[in-house]
């Protein structure tokens, strides 16, 4: 039988709508594939179907996954879908098939013998690890008050490989619940915005108005200097170990951290 490719948008909604359509076709899953974005090399003897993301269909898929597979699996699938690798669509889709159709159900993430599940597990783990690192390594800058009430805004810029902002926001929304803060993903032009005391939300916007040093609050420079000094003086000379430091905190994170700025 002919292979059929469903082409989805690179987003959670895109992938979940793709899964909905794949099941709606009722053609079995052996010859169906989910693909993120356009393929450069079109295959002969394959049909391509473009999928338009649909919030209603996404909702249905989300509900099914949550009730039949449980929160744990659902979150793993979301993390895998936030990965930076283009084969995530296929991995997530085939994992759902393994769980719902092949019957591994709530235990699906343990079935690493299935290569798609193994891949999905791997992608989800990468996203989770990176989100964890960002929670530790994000450095906020305080921006001067934009209004008369004198409310300052904390702003942080990150450049993660995976789309981790949605997974990092809940942590800071809990910790800094009374602050206005914003986390900006440079590569995806994505902002996670949290107004003090309210729910957080995501915004995609072209970022040509990014705040520079001029936007800092009065004390910001001083605190940055203080922390750099602290970071320099706390180290024990004889135990310094650059290689290990790089293992724990890769250069791609260090680029966004103020305590490392001068060294590189």
């Amino acid at each position: 039988m002919e292979e059929k490719y469903l082409i989805c948008e690179d987003s959670l909604e895109g992938i979940f709508t793709g899964i909905y359509e794949a099941y709606a076709l009722r053609e079995g899953h052996e010859h169906l594939h989910l693909q993120i974005g356009e393929e450069e090399n079109l295959r002969l003897f394959a049909t391509y179907v473009h999928i338009v993301p649909d919030p209603v269909k996404t909702d249905k898929v989300v509900r099914t996954l949550q009730t039949r597979l449980g929160e744990h699996v659902y979150h793993s699938l979301c993390r895998a879908a936030a990965s930076c690798y283009p084969d995530k669509g296929e991995a997530v889709y085939q994992t759902v098939v393994d769980a719902l159709t092949a019957g591994s159900g709530r235990r699906v993430m343990e079935n690493v013998r299935n290569p798609h599940v193994a891949r999905c597990f791997e992608l989800a783990r990468f996203t989770a690890n990176e989100a964890h690192y960002e929670i530790e390594f994000i450095r906020f800058q305080e921006l001067a008050a934009g209004n008369d009430a004198g409310d300052s805004v904390l702003f942080a810029k990150i450049g993660p490989k995976n789309n981790v902002v949605p997974f990092v926001m809940p942590h800071f929304a809990d910790r800094l619940s009374i602050e206005n803060f914003m986390i900006h993903d440079e590569h995806r032009k994505l902002f996670g915005v949290h107004p003090a005391g309210e729910e957080w939300y995501l915004v995609t916007a072209a970022a040509d108005f990014l705040p520079g040093e001029s936007a800092w609050s009065a004390k910001e420079q001083e605190y940055q200097e203080l922390f750099r000094t602290f970071h320099r003086t706390i180290a024990i000379k004889s135990r310094e170990n650059r290689k290990l430091q790089r293992q724990m905190c890769a250069y791609r994170y260090q680029d966004y951290m103020l305590e490392f700025e001068q060294k590189r």
């Binding site: 591994s104 343990e110 079935n111 013998r113 791997e122 904390l154 004390k219 605190y223 135990r239 293992q247």
Partner: protein, 354 residues
Amino acid sequence: MEFYRRNYIEGLFLSSGILYSPNYTMELICETVHRLRTIHRFQGYIHIKAIPGADPLLIQKAGFLADRMSVNLEMATAEGLRAIAPNKHRKNILAPMRQIQNGITANKNEITLYKHAPHFCEAGQSTQMVIGALPESDYQIMSVAENLYEKFSLKRVYYSAFVNVNEDKELPALSGGPPLLREHRLYQADWLLRFYDFKVEELLTQQRPNFNMAIDPKADWAVHHLEQFPVEINRADYHTLLRVPGLGVKSARRIVAARRFGNLTFADLKKIGVVLKRALYFITCNGRMMYPTKIDEDYIVRNLVWQNQMGRGEKLPFLADGTSYRQMSLYEIPAFDSDNDRVSQFKALQTSVG
């Protein structure tokens, strides 16, 4: 506070030398933490030192304010402590440790009764030992650590390689920097105690009181107990799997979970995250080993050490330059052509089959 807000820091560590008297110092620490928590509303992690010899009431009070408390043991043995820090007594150190432990258990019971009872040292307690300053053996250190875990239910014991602050003829002169590799081996063994159900007597004995610097403690144990290997991945229980070098807590759990769906192969193990280059000497999948290998102590050790020397085995980040391998002279084995060894074996096998 501003550091915490900007996510520069996660928490605080308060420590102090004794100023005037233990009680006075402890009071100051208490006061500081109290201010942080109540006036500045600091919600982050606070780790404080309990000062040995301070009033139990003060320690009690501090425990409700901090997340973790620790008392430094400094030296593994009572004699060692006397030699290095004559004004510290072992009894004084152990007393607050016991108190904190009792505090934590009592508090746990309280919390099961009253959900909103204040938390006492939620993150448990820990301690620290300096190593390499005195000639105690690894066996002594590990036995003390095991005791602390069992009798004082500590969360962690930290080992820190001795760093010279001031030169003193009583203190050993350390050429080549602090004994970092030894510290590393102690931490490895510490993990074996806490997560792998090992006992100190299994790893070390009075006759063999120090760790082998050339291979890690788990591999060392395994090559001395070859009669228990190879282990069949698809049948062995969780605790047996944990004892295989190259398998960790996570991979052992994943194996147990994944084999419900069917037999595992070596390719599956690789995906699970098993370090096959170390594990292959000790496991079978469906009754077969990965390569035909000898189950022989010398042979395995030679291969493991050889991998290390080629920089393909254990990753030791502080051995950046090849020269520091001099420390490994305990097991000075020339890099044999073990690959040839394996190839010739394989050929012999082929001819016998063909």
